[in-house]
Subunit: 350 residues, 2 copies
């Protein structure tokens, strides 16, 4: 089979997998060959309704899936036999266990941030280290919070402005789709150890970053919220910080002055912009909350945890398959296909 | 100006107005001429980003809106001068106050359920009383909960199965976009009077319905949940009740067996089906929770309060303007344009 398209599989049709599947479909240089899963309920039935070719992720899953009325095009091995790359969005630790299977099938593999850095030996954020993933057999897209840190704090480091970053991460309690299965109510739960894993995890991509994170879980279901205290390499201005962030991809500015004063307002804005599933792939930095005093800066942003790693997963496919060598080219292609923006309320597209 | 399209204005770009504006745009026989509002923040800026012609709802609003960078095509009077019908989705009581202005402009007016029945003397649910609105100058689309009662309980009455309906309505506390402005947490707030207003309100559309509602507000932000105890005119079967509901429009069946076991799962399903804003215009009745014992039936359904009145508002435009005389024709046209379904997980479109 000769192709000028990258043939992609997604293994796991959960919060990340279903979004990656749609994002692959949106890319001009990729074709979604199919999705593997083992659920038999509304989640996989919806994939079938949406016309996505479905494959049984395990031998045992095929019977129950067919019994549930989900048409199957084969099993995971059948799927792997037809693709150049797979994005593994299975639950934590399963991705690492799947890696040998992908290697045996000769399929490039993108794992997600639930897996450890050591699983692939390479952790990925497109703007930071795309080229080091070129031609590798596998990489790991880091988690949502870590991705945001590399994008934003990494942008300030790239600009030579960052000496040290200390962040407090207020995480969502659970994702909306499974919030009936349990969450927390009317409390905040601090993570028991400092640093929380996100700071060290960011160093798997940017080893020289001086970053410490403290994390807690709050009683809401959508999006994380970061509060950063930054020590700069020199006294700087508000405009310089904004310019450094604007020079990096996948950061969008929002403003309290526009009434975007809480996490829920930004979530609603994404719906109003007709984003698929209300997704925000960008990190939303509050431009008018950012405060700079001499060589200190204080920064607040919002991370749509369900969506932020999707564009990174797309770029990782191009890097592993070596089809696009230039990071900026891949990033621009991904971002245009998804409709990403630098300012949500500007009428220009950038 | 000769037209074969219904020229429509929307006054108020809030939770209902923005959805009606999109739904008008989706109709083959309607043109959205513009939207009037007075906000200067992300809400109206988003309308401009989406290419909707904006008008200042008041004289005082024009300056601040222009200052905020929102391009204005004129004021409300300019807008009313160009349209056949207006959907008023302004805050409670403002719609009634606007009615004289609409009448003076010779524009048919659809008010929303925040207004009282007496404001227009006619309350509207398409499947129940479309023809009585034909050619009127104004009507009121009843509120989200009331619309659901007329659709579902009304369908059982139409089938000759309903003797009396007693319902408990567990409402959402506040809408997501404004949940930062206050809500309730970790409690349930019963309405202090029985019946709550929704039962009597349903009788403004179906005067003969024997219905009593009890309402409470719970600590979530998306969708209402109704629990009904029904006395039937005769012993009936589960299949008969389902058949009666299936014979009425805008009711869709969901099943616990598909994993749709809580309000949040259905909300997620709408996103996965790529619905605009994740909207569910249908009433979602749990087919496998419905229980029938002799001449008693117990029924549970979910109401997406932000969206359910949108198709009714579209039909009300056609009824008032008299452009479509047959209710079923209007309903079918609206539903097809929006992509409404009878079963969300069936691969057929009906």
């Amino acid at each position: 089979m000769t192709t000028n398209t990258i043939r992609v599989a997604v293994n796991g049709y959960g919060v990340i997998g279903k979004r990656v599947a749609d994002a692959v479909t949106a890319q001009p240089d990729m074709t979604l060959i199919g999705v593997a899963d083992l659920a038999t309920d509304w989640r996989t039935k919806t994939a079938a309704v949406n016309g996505i070719p479905m494959f049984a992720a395990t031998g045992q899953a095929a019977g129950p899936m067919r019994d549930a009325g989900i048409p199957l095009a084969g099993d995971l091995d059948d799927l792997l036999g037809q693709v150049d790359a797979v994005v593994d969005a299975t639950p934590k630790n399963i991705g690492a266990a799947n890696l040998d299977r992908y290697r045996t099938a000769g399929v490039k593999a993108v794992l997600q941030g639930g897996e450890s850095h050591t699983a692939t030996g390479h952790s990925f954020v497109a703007q930071a280290n795309y080229t080091s993933a070129l031609g590798r057999d596998a990489t790991r897209v880091v988690s949502c919070n870590t991705t945001s840190i590399v994008r934003v704090i990494g942008a300030l480091a790239d600009a030579g402005l960052l000496a040290a970053a200390r962040g407090v991460l207020i995480r969502r309690a659970t994702d909306p789709w499974e919030s009936h299965l349990g969450g927390i109510m009317n409390t905040i739960v601090p993570e028991p150890t400092i640093p929380s894993h996100q700071g060290p995890d960011a160093k798997t991509v940017l080893p020289d970053l001086d970053v410490v994170t403290i994390a807690a879980k709050a009683a809401h279901t959508q999006t994380h919220n970061h509060y950063w205290t930054l020590r700069l390499t020199r006294p700087a201005t508000h405009d310089e910080i904004i310019a450094a962030l604007a020079a990096a991809p996948r950061i969008a500015f929002i403003r309290m002055a526009d009434g975007l004063v809480a996490l829920n307002t930004t979530v609603e804005l994404m719906k109003d912009l007709h984003r698929p599933r209300g997704d925000m792939w960008e990190v939303a930095v509050w431009e008018d909350v950012l405060t700079v005093e001499g060589d200190e800066a204080y920064l607040t942003y919002q991370v749509y945890n369900e969506a932020i790693v999707v564009p990174e997963s797309i770029d990782a496919i191009r890097a592993l398959t070596g089809t696009v060598e230039d990071p900026a080219t891949s990033i621009a292609r991904t971002d245009e296909a998804l409709g990403m923006r630098r300012d949500f309320l500007s009428r220009s597209t950038d």
